[in-house]
Symmetry: C2
Amino acid sequence: MNSIKVGLLGIGTVGGGTFQVLRRNQEDIRGRAGRGIEITMVADLDVERARSIVGDACTVVSDARQVIANPDIDIVVELIGGYGVARSLVLEAIAAGKHVVTANKALLAVHGSEIFAAAREKGVMVAFEAAVAGGIPIIKALREGLTANRIEWIAGIINGTTNFILSEMRGKGLDFATVLKEAQRLGYAEADPTFDIEGVDAAHKATIMSAIAFGIPVQFDRAHVEGITQLQAADIKYAEQLGYRIKLLGIARRRQDVGGIELRVHPTLIPANRLIANVEGAMNAVLVQADAVGTTLYYGKGAGAEPTASAVIADLVDITRLATADPDHRVPHLAFQPEAMNNTPILPMDQVQTAFYLRLRVADQAGVLSRITTILAEHQISIDAVLQRESAEGESQTDLIILTHDTQEGRMTRALQQMQALETVLAPIVALRKEELA
Amino acid sequence: MNSIKVGLLGIGTVGGGTFQVLRRNQEDIRGRAGRGIEITMVADLDVERARSIVGDACTVVSDARQVIANPDIDIVVELIGGYGVARSLVLEAIAAGKHVVTANKALLAVHGSEIFAAAREKGVMVAFEAAVAGGIPIIKALREGLTANRIEWIAGIINGTTNFILSEMRGKGLDFATVLKEAQRLGYAEADPTFDIEGVDAAHKATIMSAIAFGIPVQFDRAHVEGITQLQAADIKYAEQLGYRIKLLGIARRRQDVGGIELRVHPTLIPANRLIANVEGAMNAVLVQADAVGTTLYYGKGAGAEPTASAVIADLVDITRLATADPDHRVPHLAFQPEAMNNTPILPMDQVQTAFYLRLRVADQAGVLSRITTILAEHQISIDAVLQRESAEGESQTDLIILTHDTQEGRMTRALQQMQALETVLAPIVALRKEELA
């Protein structure tokens, strides 16, 4: 049977990895797919470097549109990244009748609806396993493996850079800025790490998973995005004393009670004995709660040349297979058939339900705890645990740590304002969300 | 579009779960699959009980062959279990042109080659996600998600009963027999638990995974099968002191150096800080090492009505989709196209390479350790760590614990014979395999 002909747009880290893995494992891949999969054309602005990677194995051009226009190319792999030119090229490839594979989470989280609609219209597939959690086949698990289930929630460590930083902060007791520099030196963080450390990258991925899990359109603009830049070493330590770890989680949760969906990325306290709490370094893991199967977890490398290539190639093989199936029988891009999608709203943050960890720097005097607990009670926030450090000799202030039960975020916001206004609260209150993931 | 019509053979725990989940989530499942999936006929010897589960929703018969003969049935789900009648019925269903879904690991591990060949011949699919690790979509991950990879090894906690027992033995310091009774009382172990506690069930699943991972035929008769019935509380405790946990692992490993494959189930010491070492209770987890993606792990419930139903229904939806694809483009039963399978031999146990944990009850006298380490050295077995308990006042014997580096099992067997023959070795030596899973 003829080989499937693939054109790469961009041959950086992931493109290079894809080329290498396809070449190294070509025999196994052909043995599984039933036909060869061959990269026959590569477009990259840096033609020299591209040529140094692929040698004489395929045509190298600087203009991506030549790949799209080539009638021999069956599948176009977009590895350029970003929202701009990548969007145009993906839409043009679809218009030209090519199947598309992309690792571009930003593009799909923002322009996914437009892209998937165009693909349906044209009868081609857009596959994107590599866009979420790198080499972990989580898109396949959610869309196909758990297809029998009503998914209740997803909570994922889906950004390796921030997980590496948090692991180092905890392990070595260092502060954020110091560890970030180390991460940059080791190549775990980019020179401009904004998208990672501010939670944007995780939010892109959580947005894509929320759509697949709940049958809603991708709505990155409705996601709550909060990074780890404000996180202090002290809170990681207190959390540990209370039996918790702090992880940057991307969370998507169905809220039956209010008919909405929570979509949020933020540092989160989770019980230290949960499997996902022990995911360290740059590794990723996604925890899924679903009605029939219960809890499942998927763990692996979320980035890097070959782990991401593993996902890109899995998509190539899937397309090879499903391309011959009746288009109505292919796996829908967002798990649900277009007519079965719904418009359950993503909830504003003040309607989100979570528990909280609070750290208050308070004057060490009688009545402080009472005033604070009274405010919490007035907002119907119930307390799970209190940790008050004995103040050192001669100290006139101390840290008061409070863990609450689940409450509505809006209530906590109002309680925080009142507590912050107390004279005996001497510094900005640290408030972190806490999830039991049970 | 017409609903897919499904006939169940056997409606016990898993059949009942499948019926319930299909009914409860029918709207979501139709929304994903693009068409309804309906159980229209059930065969069970206990017609009364079957009727009490399905009500008037479908036809109930006592003769499975009526389901197979029904021209309206598209897919037959075999949930009878065992090697006997299940084999005949699956082959008859295939001969009748039905696609088959089965959760029957024993059947596939033993008669898989015959069944898959018959299915290919007839152009139908046999799907079996539920046969390994219950609701965890591990078959899909191995066959499709990791299709780009050369798989190096798989190590799985794939039997919930034994993992529950081991967790309880460690947590409560109890011995095997006591915990087994508790497990039976709680429903985690069957009245006749032989297949679970002797490692047979895990070996069935490991056999299936080895075939998918390495492109070899299923060869249950070549698997090394060792259960947990001989495991003593003392060894769990010593292992813990040395930083290890003991788990019943199913292991399939490619041995490039000798051109063979290891396929074995046995209690195994693994480092306590590995994620898989922290899989507790009846949960399952499969760790996969592959060349491109690196390490991935899949965790979830390995048994139970609805987790298993989740896998059965995922198979039903997959068949619904791929049934319209060109048969040459479907996912091959064992991941590789028939002509791409190979005959790499499964290695005899004495060629297997592992590290060891040894516990020797020895006379507390000078020269004992020297004699033992000399024997190990003579067999080129190098020592990683030694733990010698100080003997209690008045005691004349003590436990000597030795951890070795990787060695060939054959060497260890011979060294054990010599050590056992020493006069100063006062009881049968406990030898357990140890894997770093790095």
